[in-house]
């Protein structure tokens, strides 16, 4: 009988009765063949692999991370509550040391969901990793967390949520934003002024194979992780880098995913994208599970796998090396780069337009963060969607220093409910979420 070297907790939630719409890549069928493969391989019978039933998240779990407009029930379905709950269930099992590692093999995904949520972007409504991480921090006192996003698309939602958080290292490896949605994730995106350098982006050219990914892992991700010393490593484990994926252009194999998983050694992996539902996902997921369990994955192979056909070209290799060198030097020179950025202008304010491709509308944000050397800073977000909803959202981070917290509370106090459709306060220092009542408007 097979015995796992590391105990692995798995939540499998394929949501067989939920789809964005019937023809959408994010549809009922997505994990069907993965289930077939996992069952047929007898993965759940491996000694040391445990399958858990997910508990859906509660409202407070979502509001600890997001400002949902007008509320979480409107922007998310039960299915999102369950997939976030799957990540949370797995995270709890890891933090309580019931298992060594966890894998939330769930849908729908979440890494394109930002702090303010007016609707769905990139098939995502709420950020299931961030919801899990903030819950684990609250419940188990975990501080330093690293998120390594290996989905083919830039994890712009997770980047947004942790942009100002010096305790969260976010590293995204993805297909170059000039060639793929969401069009962001360039090396110069390094985080807000209070958390400069704890956001790192490694855009890779189309047709990169696992060779390129493993190079990035060895030459950037590993050394940065070693220096950052996280208490917890989370892998946003998208599977859309596969050579058969219909909506991307990379050349990853199942075996490559398994190797990446084994070498990264994340505590928790959470499924993100991956839409080659027959040709890739069944094999990739078996590979990932075996790798997490510390078992032999050398026999995992796609039926049509041909090593020569997907070999990485010399020009791709050169481009990968170049971008890796650049990102590593950004990390090493982050102090100097930060000073230069401060000299160039005011990085404490930014104005952005955010496109909700899945739902088809835009949002304009004016964001302000308090300058601080002690905490991530309080955040004031004035956001208007072109559906005509105008909100003010104030975020006070977990480890807010007294003066930043005071500023945050003052912003909330000052905001007139007449000017905004909704005024929200997310005070992580005491885990409270408040909405200013409309009739509280002072004359």
């Amino acid at each position: 009988m097979l015995q796992a070297r590391h105990r692995v907790g798995l939540v499998f939630f394929p949501a067989y009765d939920w789809a964005i719409h019937p023809q959408h890549p994010e549809r009922e069928e997505r994990l069907l063949y993965t289930q077939d493969q996992i069952l047929e391989e007898g993965i759940f019978d491996i000694e040391g692999i445990f399958e858990f039933k997910p508990d859906p998240v509660v409202l407070a779990d979502i509001q600890r991370v997001h400002f949902c407009v007008p509320d979480p029930w409107t922007v998310a379905t039960e299915s999102h509550f369950i997939s976030a709950g799957g990540a949370k269930t797995v995270g709890m099992a890891v933090c309580e040391k019931r298992v060594d590692r966890g894998f939330a093999l769930v849908r729908p995904p979440g890494h394109h969901a930002m702090r303010v949520v007016h609707g769905a972007r990139g098939f995502c409504n709420i950020n299931i990793e961030a919801i899990m991480i903030e819950f684990l921090r609250r419940k188990y006192g975990i501080r330093r967390v690293a998120v390594v996003d290996t989905d083919c698309h830039h994890g712009d939602g997770t980047q947004d949520i942790y942009w100002h958080d010096p305790d969260t290292l976010f590293i995204s490896l993805h297909q170059d934003g000039r060639t793929l949605y969401p069009g962001s994730g360039f090396p110069e995106e390094l985080g807000g002024p209070n958390a400069f350098g704890t956001t790192l982006n490694i855009p890779l050219p189309p047709h990169t194979t696992e060779e390129g990914f493993l190079h990035a892992l060895h030459h950037v991700v590993r050394p940065v992780l070693a220096e950052f010393r996280p208490d917890l490593i989370v892998n946003s484990a998208g599977q859309d880098n596969h050579y058969t994926d219909p909506i991307t252009n990379m050349n990853f194999s199942a075996r490559g995913y398994a190797e990446l998983t084994a070498e990264l050694g994340a505590d928790i992996a959470v499924l993100e994208g991956g839409y080659s539902i027959e040709g890739a996902l069944p094999y990739v997921n078996v590979g990932i599970l075996l790798a997490m369990a510390g078992l032999d994955f050398r026999h995992v192979r796609e039926p049509d796998y041909d090593r020569h056909q997907i070999r990485q070209s010399a020009s791709v290799t050169a481009a990968v090396h170049q971008v890796c060198d650049l990102v590593l030097s950004c990390w090493q020179k982050r102090e100097k780069l930060r000073e230069r950025r401060l000299a160039e202008g005011n990085p404490y304010r930014r104005r952005r337009r955010i496109f909700y491709d899945t739902d088809g509308f835009s949002e304009t944000q004016l964001e302000e963060v308090t300058p601080c050397g002690h905490c991530g800073g309080a955040l004031r977000i004035d956001s208007t969607s072109d559906r005509g909803v105008h909100i003010l959202a104030v975020h006070v981070p977990r480890n807010a220093c007294p003066s930043c917290r005071q500023q945050g509370l003052a912003w909330y106090e000052e905001a007139s409910p007449r000017r905004f459709d909704h005024v929200f306060l997310q005070d992580q220092t005491n885990d409270r979420f408040e909405t200013k009542p409309r009739d509280a408007a002072r004359p």
């Binding site: 097979l2 939630f13 009765d17 939920w18 009922e28 047929e40 391989e41 039960e78 078996v286």
Partner: protein, 573 residues
């Protein structure tokens, strides 16, 4: 009249009943060296003087295959395994003659790599050379397309006694379990066959020529002929017999936990209404995880004869047994002795029990009466904790749809049904410790045999249709057919139910009262690119375990309170 017979490890229980009631019952010691003799003696005990033509049905539950597997008393079996990519099939090796060959099928039943005939003929040659008579053939995803398994059997040639194909074991996915189950079928086949040939021979001599039925681990029965194709399905039928006996006593409106309390162990199961909860995967026998449908059960090492001792100043009951109770001549105190000391179990050796418990009592600073209560409470708490674990485990079984997760059925037991030798003596203590209403199953001493007698014929069919490939398949039922479009869930369900009906009747079900149900019906649109290319339909239908029709009067009589022994309380009010 019906005979129900359950061969247990220590006793063989047998009943003769008809629609009006329980006519005869007997309990004789089992001779583990001579199960055949035990069965005949038990039959003799209830049939003496009964005209054989009045007997319409005999259902047997035996430990024959279980013992063979647990004791490793099985002949060499050859296995030919074609896996393809994935987990290395070496991990599932069953013995010396385990041969991995080329060839693979994918999750939709498409061939990925062909078989190599030369390699297979060489493997067959080797098995013949080694004198192996029983062979199993198992392919990964053979339940989606059995073509490779069937071809391998063709290539195998002559000279083997039993050849078992993996796809016939069960329609469920699980390659490792398919290997183990096929292996076990091949392994117990010669023993099973010769044993029941002998039983049938003896019955015929007595004028009993009706088809023998065997109880299965899922609490249903099948005809002996049907068992020859899958003899391992008769494994671990004993616990199922007891649970079916409890079903006879279940009120049926609410959920219940069944506790079969024995000397060494207590076996627990759960009823939803009158249907026992099934294990979602398959039974585990010793080191083998299988695809054999079975009841969801939990067994703990607490029973009437569990050893009682002090460990670090704490009272410990079980999990091991160190011989019989003091009152039956044993040398270590047991819960049975505590019952005798308290007078719950009237016994002439009551004083011996009290004497034997005294040192333990002194060690805890208690008198014998208080200690005896503490022993029973400790044992009962262990049983109730196990009941909680079992129910929690069932409610924690993962589900894969939003609907089931949010609104799925949660088991909330209201009753506790206890049976087995010491059951009535534990019932009072259990009742004092649990909010559930505790009931001793009527005729608790032979409820297992009653369960065997009244169990209906059960079976399950897994059915797939793939409209892109224009194929409908149920390989375990030897069924595959092209389909005509349009084809949808209605057609799939109808075909699956027709197959189920056919299978149930072949196994001996009563066509007039066939209760079939659809357990799962999933329909997926297959989209490739931006076009719907077909539908993937998956249907699981079953005849679930339950009791045969026409015995309500008997059940009512059995369930009448007057026939149940009184519940005595050991713990006070």
């Amino acid at each position: 009249m019906i005979i129900g017979l359950d061969v247990g490890g220590t006793h063989t229980d047998v009943v003769l009943l008809d629609q009006s009631g329980l006519l005869r019952q007997a309990k004789i010691p089992t001779d583990p060296e001579d199960l055949f003799g035990s069965i005949l003696a038990a039959l003799e005990a209830v049939t003496a003087g009964i005209p054989p033509e009045g007997i319409r049905r005999i259902v047997l539950s035996t430990t024959l295959t279980t013992n063979a597997v647990i004791q490793g008393n099985i002949p060499p079996v050859g296995l030919i395994v074609s896996a393809g990519p994935g987990i290395d099939p070496e991990a599932f090796r069953t013995g010396e003659a385990y041969i991995c060959v080329r060839g693979s099928i994918d999750h939709r039943g498409r061939e990925v790599e062909p078989l190599d005939e030369v390699e297979i003929r060489r493997a067959a040659e080797r098995l013949r050379r080694e004198g192996i008579r029983q062979v199993g053939i198992v392919g990964k995803f053979s339940v989606r397309n059995p073509a490779h398994e069937i071809a391998i059997r063709e290539m195998l040639g002559e000279g083997f006694e039993g050849v078992f194909l993996g796809h016939r074991v069960s329609g469920r996915l699980n390659f490792a379990r398919r290997i183990a189950t096929t292996y076990l079928n091949a392994a117990v086949y010669p023993l099973h066959r010769s044993f029941f040939d002998a039983v049938c021979g003896s019955l015929a001599e007595k004028g009993l020529q009706l088809p023998l039925r065997l109880l299965k681990a899922d609490g249903g029965n099948m005809k002996l002929e049907a068992s020859l194709e899958a003899p391992i399905q008769t494994v671990l039928s004993g616990p199922a017999a007891s649970v079916m006996g409890a079903v006879a006593a279940a009120a049926g409106e609410d959920d219940a936990v069944v506790m079969d309390i024995g000397g060494t162990t207590t076996d627990l199961a759960v009823l939803i209404g009158r249907a026992p909860v099934l294990n979602p995967n398959g039974i585990t026998i010793g080191a083998y995880r299988t695809l054999i449908r079975s009841l969801e059960t939990l067994s703990i090492g607490t029973g009437g004869d569990s050893a009682v001792r002090l460990k670090g100043g704490e009272l410990v009951v079980g999990p091991e047994r160190r011989g019989p109770a003091l009152i039956f001549g044993g040398r270590h105190p047991t819960p049975t002795d505590a019952m005798a000391a308290l007078g719950i179990l009237p016994h002439p050796e009551r004083r011996r029990a009290a004497e034997g418990l005294r040192p333990l009592a002194a060690g805890l600073g208690l008198d014998v009466e208080a200690l005896s209560r503490r022993i029973l409470e400790t044992a009962c708490r262990q049983m109730l904790a196990a009941a909680d674990r079992l129910v929690e485990g069932i409610n924690a079984q993962p589900v894969y749809t939003v609907h089931e997760l949010m609104e799925g059925y949660r088991v909330r037991p209201q009753r506790l049904l206890v049976l087995g030798g010491p059951a009535p003596h534990f019932a009072g203590t259990l009742a004092a410790l649990t909010p559930l209403s505790v009931r001793v199953v009527p005729r608790w001493e032979v409820a297992n045999a009653i369960g065997a007698a009244l169990a209906r014929t059960t079976c399950e069919v897994e059915f797939f249709a793939d409209t892109e490939q224009r194929l409908a398949r149920a390989p375990a039922e030897n069924f595959h057919q092209p389909i005509a479009l349009p084809y949808g869930m209605q057609e799939a369900t109808a075909q699956a139910l027709a197959l189920l009906r056919e299978k149930a009747l072949a196994r001996g079900a009563n066509p007039r009262y066939l209760e079939m149900e659809v357990v799962e019906a999933q329909e997926f649109n297959m989209i490739r690119g931006f076009h719907t290319t077909g539908k993937n339909l998956r249907v699981r239908v079953q005849v679930k375990p339950g009791l045969i029709h026409g015995y309500d009067e008997l059940l009512a009589r059995l369930a009448a309170p007057a026939e149940a022994p009184p519940v005595r309380t050991a713990t006070g009010p």
